[in-house]
Symmetry: C2
Protein backbone atom coordinates (compact mmCIF):
# COMPACT_ATOMS: atom_id res chain seq x y z
CA UNK A 1 0.00 0.00 0.00
CA UNK A 2 1.28 3.45 -0.95
CA UNK A 3 2.17 5.50 2.15
CA UNK A 4 -0.10 8.48 2.74
CA UNK A 5 1.39 11.97 3.02
CA UNK A 6 0.84 14.81 5.47
CA UNK A 7 2.78 17.86 6.66
CA UNK A 8 3.10 16.69 10.27
CA UNK A 9 2.56 13.43 12.12
CA UNK A 10 1.86 13.87 15.82
CA UNK A 11 2.36 10.73 17.88
CA UNK A 12 -0.01 10.94 20.82
CA UNK A 13 -3.46 12.59 20.95
CA UNK A 14 -3.36 13.66 24.59
CA UNK A 15 -3.78 17.31 25.64
CA UNK A 16 -0.30 18.24 24.43
CA UNK A 17 -0.65 16.48 21.07
CA UNK A 18 -4.01 18.19 20.51
CA UNK A 19 -2.59 21.63 21.32
CA UNK A 20 0.40 20.93 19.05
CA UNK A 21 -2.06 20.37 16.19
CA UNK A 22 -3.67 23.70 17.07
CA UNK A 23 -0.37 25.61 17.08
CA UNK A 24 0.71 23.98 13.79
CA UNK A 25 -2.75 24.68 12.38
CA UNK A 26 -2.26 28.41 12.99
CA UNK A 27 0.55 28.16 10.42
CA UNK A 28 -1.57 26.19 7.96
CA UNK A 29 0.29 22.95 8.69
CA UNK A 30 -1.91 19.87 8.27
CA UNK A 31 -1.58 17.21 10.97
CA UNK A 32 -2.31 13.54 11.46
CA UNK A 33 -2.49 12.40 15.08
CA UNK A 34 -1.87 8.75 15.96
CA UNK A 35 -2.84 7.23 19.29
CA UNK A 36 -2.87 3.69 20.61
CA UNK A 37 -6.05 4.45 22.54
CA UNK A 38 -9.44 4.49 20.83
CA UNK A 39 -10.00 8.20 21.53
CA UNK A 40 -8.25 11.46 22.30
CA UNK A 41 -7.11 12.54 25.76
CA UNK A 42 -4.12 10.40 26.74
CA UNK A 43 -3.64 10.16 30.50
CA UNK A 44 -6.47 12.69 31.03
CA UNK A 45 -8.88 10.21 29.42
CA UNK A 46 -7.29 6.95 30.57
CA UNK A 47 -6.39 7.65 34.18
CA UNK A 48 -8.45 10.50 35.63
CA UNK A 49 -11.19 11.60 33.21
CA UNK A 50 -13.64 12.43 36.01
CA UNK A 51 -11.11 14.15 38.29
CA UNK A 52 -10.69 17.92 38.57
CA UNK A 53 -7.41 19.62 37.67
CA UNK A 54 -6.74 22.89 39.51
CA UNK A 55 -3.56 24.23 37.92
CA UNK A 56 -4.44 24.78 34.26
CA UNK A 57 -3.86 28.54 33.88
CA UNK A 58 -7.10 30.49 33.90
CA UNK A 59 -9.18 27.47 34.96
CA UNK A 60 -9.70 27.37 38.73
CA UNK A 61 -11.07 23.85 38.28
CA UNK A 62 -11.75 21.68 35.25
CA UNK A 63 -12.46 17.96 34.86
CA UNK A 64 -9.77 16.22 32.83
CA UNK A 65 -12.34 14.99 30.30
CA UNK A 66 -13.70 18.52 29.89
CA UNK A 67 -10.20 19.85 29.24
CA UNK A 68 -9.83 17.27 26.47
CA UNK A 69 -13.22 18.27 25.06
CA UNK A 70 -12.24 21.95 25.00
CA UNK A 71 -8.92 21.19 23.32
CA UNK A 72 -10.78 19.16 20.66
CA UNK A 73 -13.13 22.12 20.07
CA UNK A 74 -10.15 24.49 19.86
CA UNK A 75 -8.33 22.45 17.21
CA UNK A 76 -11.47 21.55 15.22
CA UNK A 77 -11.20 24.46 12.73
CA UNK A 78 -7.96 22.92 11.44
CA UNK A 79 -9.59 19.53 10.78
CA UNK A 80 -6.76 17.30 12.00
CA UNK A 81 -6.86 13.63 10.96
CA UNK A 82 -7.06 11.12 13.79
CA UNK A 83 -5.85 7.54 13.64
CA UNK A 84 -6.95 5.78 16.82
CA UNK A 85 -6.19 2.29 18.04
CA UNK A 86 -2.91 2.18 16.15
CA UNK A 87 0.69 2.43 17.35
CA UNK A 88 3.56 4.24 15.67
CA UNK A 89 6.19 1.51 15.61
CA UNK A 90 9.04 2.89 13.53
CA UNK A 91 10.62 5.99 12.03
CA UNK A 92 13.13 6.43 9.25
CA UNK A 93 14.45 9.18 6.98
CA UNK A 94 13.68 8.85 3.26
CA UNK A 95 16.14 9.82 0.53
CA UNK A 96 14.13 12.97 -0.21
CA UNK A 97 14.45 14.16 3.41
CA UNK A 98 10.94 13.34 4.54
CA UNK A 99 10.25 11.05 7.48
CA UNK A 100 8.41 7.75 7.18
CA UNK A 101 6.42 6.73 10.22
CA UNK A 102 5.45 3.05 10.41
CA UNK A 103 2.01 2.53 11.94
CA UNK A 104 1.65 -1.15 12.52
CA UNK A 105 1.59 -2.46 8.92
CA UNK A 106 0.91 0.89 7.25
CA UNK A 107 3.10 3.95 6.76
CA UNK A 108 2.72 7.70 6.51
CA UNK A 109 5.28 10.16 5.14
CA UNK A 110 5.62 13.52 6.85
CA UNK A 111 7.86 16.57 6.68
CA UNK A 112 8.06 16.78 10.48
CA UNK A 113 7.22 14.38 13.29
CA UNK A 114 6.13 15.48 16.76
CA UNK A 115 6.37 12.93 19.56
CA UNK A 116 3.81 13.84 22.21
CA UNK A 117 3.35 10.32 23.51
CA UNK A 118 3.43 11.08 27.24
CA UNK A 119 5.39 8.56 29.26
CA UNK A 120 4.27 5.64 27.12
CA UNK A 121 1.25 4.26 25.31
CA UNK A 122 -2.05 3.29 26.85
CA UNK A 123 -3.35 -0.14 25.91
CA UNK A 124 -6.58 -1.77 27.04
CA UNK A 125 -6.31 -3.84 30.19
CA UNK A 126 -6.48 -7.60 29.62
CA UNK A 127 -10.09 -8.71 29.87
CA UNK A 128 -9.14 -11.20 32.61
CA UNK A 129 -7.77 -8.40 34.77
CA UNK A 130 -6.90 -9.35 38.32
CA UNK A 131 -8.20 -6.00 39.51
CA UNK A 132 -11.94 -5.92 40.21
CA UNK A 133 -13.54 -3.43 37.85
CA UNK A 134 -10.38 -3.27 35.78
CA UNK A 135 -12.07 -4.27 32.55
CA UNK A 136 -12.51 -1.35 30.20
CA UNK A 137 -9.56 0.55 31.68
CA UNK A 138 -6.08 1.09 30.37
CA UNK A 139 -2.55 0.24 31.37
CA UNK A 140 0.54 2.08 30.24
CA UNK A 141 3.31 0.32 28.32
CA UNK A 142 6.62 1.83 27.23
CA UNK A 143 6.30 3.60 23.91
CA UNK A 144 8.15 2.10 20.93
CA UNK A 145 9.68 5.55 20.36
CA UNK A 146 12.06 4.76 23.23
CA UNK A 147 13.78 2.31 20.91
CA UNK A 148 14.15 4.79 18.02
CA UNK A 149 17.52 6.29 17.27
CA UNK A 150 17.07 9.44 19.37
CA UNK A 151 19.36 10.71 22.12
CA UNK A 152 17.74 9.82 25.43
CA UNK A 153 17.98 11.02 29.02
CA UNK A 154 17.15 7.90 31.01
CA UNK A 155 13.88 6.82 29.38
CA UNK A 156 12.95 10.31 28.17
CA UNK A 157 13.83 12.05 24.90
CA UNK A 158 16.42 14.81 25.14
CA UNK A 159 15.34 18.08 23.50
CA UNK A 160 16.62 21.64 23.37
CA UNK A 161 14.56 24.44 24.95
CA UNK A 162 14.49 26.67 21.87
CA UNK A 163 12.79 24.35 19.37
CA UNK A 164 12.04 21.23 21.43
CA UNK A 165 13.77 19.29 18.69
CA UNK A 166 15.31 15.89 19.34
CA UNK A 167 18.76 14.81 18.16
CA UNK A 168 17.17 14.17 14.74
CA UNK A 169 16.36 17.21 12.59
CA UNK A 170 12.62 17.54 11.98
CA UNK A 171 11.70 15.22 14.86
CA UNK A 172 10.37 17.07 17.90
CA UNK A 173 9.37 15.82 21.35
CA UNK A 174 7.04 17.65 23.74
CA UNK A 175 5.10 16.87 26.89
CA UNK A 176 5.93 14.17 29.43
CA UNK A 177 8.13 12.19 27.02
CA UNK A 178 10.58 15.10 26.62
CA UNK A 179 13.43 16.04 28.91
CA UNK A 180 15.54 19.18 29.37
CA UNK A 181 17.05 20.78 32.51
CA UNK A 182 14.22 21.94 34.77
CA UNK A 183 11.58 19.86 32.94
CA UNK A 184 8.34 19.51 34.89
CA UNK A 185 5.76 16.96 33.83
CA UNK A 186 2.95 19.49 33.79
CA UNK A 187 0.33 19.85 31.06
CA UNK A 188 0.98 23.59 30.91
CA UNK A 189 4.65 23.01 30.10
CA UNK A 190 3.61 20.79 27.20
CA UNK A 191 1.47 23.64 25.86
CA UNK A 192 4.45 26.03 25.89
CA UNK A 193 6.66 23.40 24.28
CA UNK A 194 4.05 22.94 21.53
CA UNK A 195 4.09 26.67 20.73
CA UNK A 196 7.88 26.87 20.38
CA UNK A 197 8.01 23.58 18.47
CA UNK A 198 5.47 24.96 15.98
CA UNK A 199 7.70 27.96 15.19
CA UNK A 200 10.60 25.64 14.41
CA UNK A 201 8.46 23.12 12.50
CA UNK A 202 7.09 25.93 10.35
CA UNK A 203 10.60 26.83 9.22
CA UNK A 204 11.01 23.26 7.96
CA UNK A 205 7.55 22.78 6.41
CA UNK A 206 7.36 26.27 4.85
CA UNK A 207 10.97 27.42 4.56
CA UNK A 208 10.21 30.41 2.32
CA UNK A 209 7.62 32.12 4.51
CA UNK A 210 8.17 35.37 6.36
CA UNK A 211 7.89 34.82 10.08
CA UNK A 212 6.45 37.74 12.05
CA UNK A 213 4.82 36.68 15.32
CA UNK A 214 1.08 37.18 14.93
CA UNK A 215 -1.50 37.28 17.70
CA UNK A 216 -4.91 35.65 17.47
CA UNK A 217 -6.42 38.74 19.12
CA UNK A 218 -5.27 41.11 16.37
CA UNK A 219 -4.40 39.07 13.25
CA UNK A 220 -7.19 38.84 10.68
CA UNK A 221 -5.14 36.14 8.92
CA UNK A 222 -5.18 33.89 12.00
CA UNK A 223 -8.83 34.70 12.69
CA UNK A 224 -9.70 33.66 9.14
CA UNK A 225 -7.92 30.33 9.65
CA UNK A 226 -9.85 29.88 12.91
CA UNK A 227 -13.13 30.63 11.16
CA UNK A 228 -13.93 33.57 13.46
CA UNK A 229 -13.07 36.50 11.17
Amino acid sequence: MEPSRVDAVIIGAGPVGLFAAFELGLFGIKCKLIDTMDRAGGQCAALYADKPIYDIPGMPSILAEDLVGQLLRQVAPFEPQFTFGRTATGLRRLDDGRLRVAIDDEAVDATVVVIAAGGGVFVPKPSLSEQPGGDGGYVMKPSPVASWDLTMHDDLILVDTEKFQTSVTGVFAIGDVAWYPGKLRLILSGFHEAALMAQAARRIVRPGERLPLQYTTSSSDLQKKLGVA
Copy 2:
Protein backbone atom coordinates in the same frame (compact mmCIF):
# COMPACT_ATOMS: atom_id res chain seq x y z
CA MET B 1 8.99 53.89 57.80
CA GLU B 2 10.03 50.28 58.52
CA PRO B 3 10.00 48.18 55.32
CA SER B 4 7.35 45.49 55.24
CA ARG B 5 8.34 41.86 54.70
CA VAL B 6 7.00 39.14 52.44
CA ASP B 7 8.30 35.89 50.92
CA ALA B 8 8.02 37.06 47.31
CA VAL B 9 7.48 40.37 45.56
CA ILE B 10 6.00 40.06 42.08
CA ILE B 11 6.43 43.14 39.94
CA GLY B 12 3.51 43.23 37.53
CA ALA B 13 -0.04 41.97 38.11
CA GLY B 14 -0.82 40.95 34.55
CA PRO B 15 -1.83 37.39 33.65
CA VAL B 16 1.68 36.05 34.14
CA GLY B 17 2.20 37.82 37.48
CA LEU B 18 -1.14 36.46 38.72
CA PHE B 19 -0.30 32.91 37.69
CA ALA B 20 3.15 33.25 39.30
CA ALA B 21 1.40 34.05 42.60
CA PHE B 22 -0.73 30.93 42.10
CA GLU B 23 2.28 28.66 41.45
CA LEU B 24 4.17 30.12 44.43
CA GLY B 25 1.00 29.79 46.51
CA LEU B 26 0.96 26.04 45.86
CA PHE B 27 4.23 25.95 47.81
CA GLY B 28 2.88 28.12 50.63
CA ILE B 29 4.91 31.14 49.50
CA LYS B 30 3.19 34.44 50.32
CA CYS B 31 3.27 37.07 47.57
CA LYS B 32 2.86 40.81 47.19
CA LEU B 33 2.08 41.99 43.67
CA ILE B 34 2.91 45.56 42.65
CA ASP B 35 1.47 47.21 39.57
CA THR B 36 1.57 50.74 38.24
CA MET B 37 -2.01 50.35 37.02
CA ASP B 38 -4.97 50.67 39.37
CA ARG B 39 -6.05 47.07 38.83
CA ALA B 40 -4.87 43.63 37.75
CA GLY B 41 -4.56 42.48 34.16
CA GLY B 42 -1.63 44.28 32.56
CA GLN B 43 -1.89 44.50 28.78
CA CYS B 44 -5.02 42.32 28.86
CA ALA B 45 -6.78 45.02 30.90
CA ALA B 46 -5.10 48.10 29.41
CA LEU B 47 -5.02 47.35 25.70
CA TYR B 48 -7.63 44.74 24.76
CA ALA B 49 -9.93 43.95 27.67
CA ASP B 50 -12.98 43.43 25.43
CA LYS B 51 -11.16 41.46 22.71
CA PRO B 52 -11.22 37.67 22.39
CA ILE B 53 -8.04 35.62 22.62
CA TYR B 54 -8.12 32.32 20.72
CA ASP B 55 -4.86 30.63 21.66
CA ILE B 56 -5.04 30.12 25.41
CA PRO B 57 -4.81 26.31 25.73
CA GLY B 58 -8.20 24.75 26.38
CA MET B 59 -10.08 27.98 25.73
CA PRO B 60 -11.34 28.17 22.14
CA SER B 61 -12.20 31.83 22.81
CA ILE B 62 -12.00 34.04 25.89
CA LEU B 63 -12.21 37.79 26.38
CA ALA B 64 -8.99 39.19 27.81
CA GLU B 65 -10.85 40.68 30.79
CA ASP B 66 -12.48 37.32 31.50
CA LEU B 67 -9.09 35.60 31.45
CA VAL B 68 -7.89 38.09 34.05
CA GLY B 69 -11.01 37.46 36.13
CA GLN B 70 -10.47 33.71 36.03
CA LEU B 71 -6.80 34.07 37.01
CA LEU B 72 -7.86 36.26 39.96
CA ARG B 73 -10.34 33.57 41.04
CA GLN B 74 -7.68 30.89 40.67
CA VAL B 75 -5.14 32.69 42.88
CA ALA B 76 -7.70 33.91 45.45
CA PRO B 77 -7.25 30.95 47.88
CA PHE B 78 -3.66 32.11 48.47
CA GLU B 79 -4.74 35.65 49.40
CA PRO B 80 -1.99 37.58 47.62
CA GLN B 81 -1.49 41.20 48.60
CA PHE B 82 -1.96 43.76 45.84
CA THR B 83 -0.36 47.17 45.71
CA PHE B 84 -1.86 49.08 42.81
CA GLY B 85 -0.99 52.47 41.41
CA ARG B 86 2.62 52.19 42.60
CA THR B 87 5.83 51.57 40.71
CA ALA B 88 8.78 49.43 41.78
CA THR B 89 11.64 51.85 41.28
CA GLY B 90 14.68 50.14 42.76
CA LEU B 91 16.17 46.87 43.96
CA ARG B 92 19.14 46.12 46.17
CA ARG B 93 20.58 43.22 48.15
CA LEU B 94 20.60 43.59 51.95
CA ASP B 95 23.45 42.32 54.13
CA ASP B 96 21.28 39.40 55.32
CA GLY B 97 20.73 38.24 51.71
CA ARG B 98 17.19 39.46 51.32
CA LEU B 99 16.16 41.83 48.53
CA ARG B 100 14.81 45.32 49.17
CA VAL B 101 12.37 46.60 46.57
CA ALA B 102 11.80 50.34 46.54
CA ILE B 103 8.20 51.25 45.74
CA ASP B 104 8.14 54.97 45.17
CA ASP B 105 8.98 56.23 48.69
CA GLU B 106 8.28 52.96 50.54
CA ALA B 107 10.15 49.66 50.60
CA VAL B 108 9.41 45.98 50.97
CA ASP B 109 11.90 43.25 51.84
CA ALA B 110 11.52 39.89 50.11
CA THR B 111 13.38 36.60 49.86
CA VAL B 112 12.78 36.41 46.11
CA VAL B 113 11.66 38.93 43.49
CA VAL B 114 9.80 38.00 40.32
CA ILE B 115 9.75 40.54 37.51
CA ALA B 116 6.62 39.95 35.43
CA ALA B 117 6.30 43.50 34.21
CA GLY B 118 5.56 42.78 30.56
CA GLY B 119 7.34 45.07 28.15
CA GLY B 120 6.99 48.07 30.44
CA VAL B 121 4.57 49.73 32.82
CA PHE B 122 1.15 51.07 31.96
CA VAL B 123 0.45 54.59 33.13
CA PRO B 124 -2.76 56.57 32.67
CA LYS B 125 -2.91 58.61 29.51
CA PRO B 126 -2.55 62.34 30.09
CA SER B 127 -5.98 63.91 30.58
CA LEU B 128 -5.31 66.32 27.71
CA SER B 129 -4.71 63.43 25.34
CA GLU B 130 -4.44 64.34 21.68
CA GLN B 131 -6.32 61.17 20.79
CA PRO B 132 -10.10 61.49 20.88
CA GLY B 133 -11.48 59.16 23.50
CA GLY B 134 -8.00 58.62 24.87
CA ASP B 135 -8.88 59.70 28.38
CA GLY B 136 -9.20 56.81 30.75
CA GLY B 137 -6.84 54.62 28.75
CA TYR B 138 -3.23 53.72 29.34
CA VAL B 139 0.08 54.21 27.62
CA MET B 140 3.13 52.03 28.12
CA LYS B 141 6.39 53.45 29.41
CA PRO B 142 9.68 51.60 29.82
CA SER B 143 9.84 49.85 33.17
CA PRO B 144 12.41 51.10 35.68
CA VAL B 145 13.63 47.50 35.97
CA ALA B 146 15.45 48.04 32.67
CA SER B 147 17.87 50.27 34.57
CA TRP B 148 18.55 47.75 37.35
CA ASP B 149 21.80 45.85 37.45
CA LEU B 150 20.60 42.80 35.50
CA THR B 151 22.13 41.32 32.36
CA MET B 152 19.98 42.41 29.45
CA HIS B 153 19.37 41.23 25.90
CA ASP B 154 18.52 44.44 24.06
CA ASP B 155 15.77 45.86 26.30
CA LEU B 156 14.71 42.49 27.73
CA ILE B 157 16.03 40.64 30.77
CA LEU B 158 18.20 37.61 30.04
CA VAL B 159 17.11 34.46 31.91
CA ASP B 160 18.00 30.77 31.81
CA THR B 161 15.36 28.24 30.71
CA GLU B 162 15.66 26.00 33.78
CA LYS B 163 14.76 28.48 36.53
CA PHE B 164 13.97 31.68 34.63
CA GLN B 165 16.41 33.38 36.95
CA THR B 166 18.16 36.60 35.96
CA SER B 167 21.88 37.26 36.41
CA VAL B 168 21.10 38.04 40.08
CA THR B 169 20.38 35.08 42.37
CA GLY B 170 16.84 35.17 43.73
CA VAL B 171 15.62 37.60 41.07
CA PHE B 172 13.51 35.96 38.37
CA ALA B 173 11.99 37.35 35.18
CA ILE B 174 9.03 35.81 33.34
CA GLY B 175 6.59 36.84 30.63
CA ASP B 176 7.20 39.45 27.94
CA VAL B 177 10.04 41.16 29.83
CA ALA B 178 12.18 37.99 29.78
CA TRP B 179 14.40 36.76 26.97
CA TYR B 180 16.00 33.42 26.13
CA PRO B 181 16.67 31.68 22.78
CA GLY B 182 13.33 30.87 21.15
CA LYS B 183 11.35 33.23 23.44
CA LEU B 184 7.85 33.95 22.18
CA ARG B 185 5.84 36.76 23.71
CA LEU B 186 2.82 34.55 24.34
CA ILE B 187 0.77 34.47 27.54
CA LEU B 188 1.04 30.68 27.60
CA SER B 189 4.83 30.83 27.65
CA GLY B 190 4.66 33.13 30.68
CA PHE B 191 2.52 30.50 32.44
CA HIS B 192 5.15 27.79 31.85
CA GLU B 193 7.92 30.15 32.95
CA ALA B 194 5.98 30.87 36.16
CA ALA B 195 5.76 27.15 36.99
CA LEU B 196 9.49 26.52 36.56
CA MET B 197 10.37 29.75 38.37
CA ALA B 198 8.26 28.64 41.34
CA GLN B 199 10.26 25.41 41.69
CA ALA B 200 13.50 27.38 41.86
CA ALA B 201 12.08 30.09 44.12
CA ARG B 202 10.85 27.44 46.53
CA ARG B 203 14.40 26.13 46.94
CA ILE B 204 15.45 29.62 48.05
CA VAL B 205 12.45 30.45 50.26
CA ARG B 206 12.20 26.99 51.87
CA PRO B 207 15.65 25.45 51.43
CA GLY B 208 15.03 22.55 53.82
CA GLU B 209 11.89 21.15 52.21
CA ARG B 210 11.70 17.90 50.33
CA LEU B 211 10.69 18.51 46.74
CA PRO B 212 8.58 15.79 45.13
CA LEU B 213 6.43 17.05 42.25
CA GLN B 214 2.82 16.96 43.38
CA TYR B 215 -0.26 17.18 41.19
CA THR B 216 -3.35 19.19 42.08
CA THR B 217 -5.49 16.29 40.82
CA SER B 218 -4.09 13.78 43.30
CA SER B 219 -2.38 15.67 46.17
CA SER B 220 -4.55 16.18 49.25
CA ASP B 221 -1.91 18.62 50.51
CA LEU B 222 -2.31 20.90 47.48
CA GLN B 223 -6.09 20.50 47.55
CA LYS B 224 -6.12 21.61 51.19
CA LYS B 225 -4.12 24.72 50.29
CA LEU B 226 -6.59 25.41 47.50
CA GLY B 227 -9.52 25.00 49.86
CA VAL B 228 -11.08 22.21 47.78
CA ALA B 229 -10.13 19.17 49.90
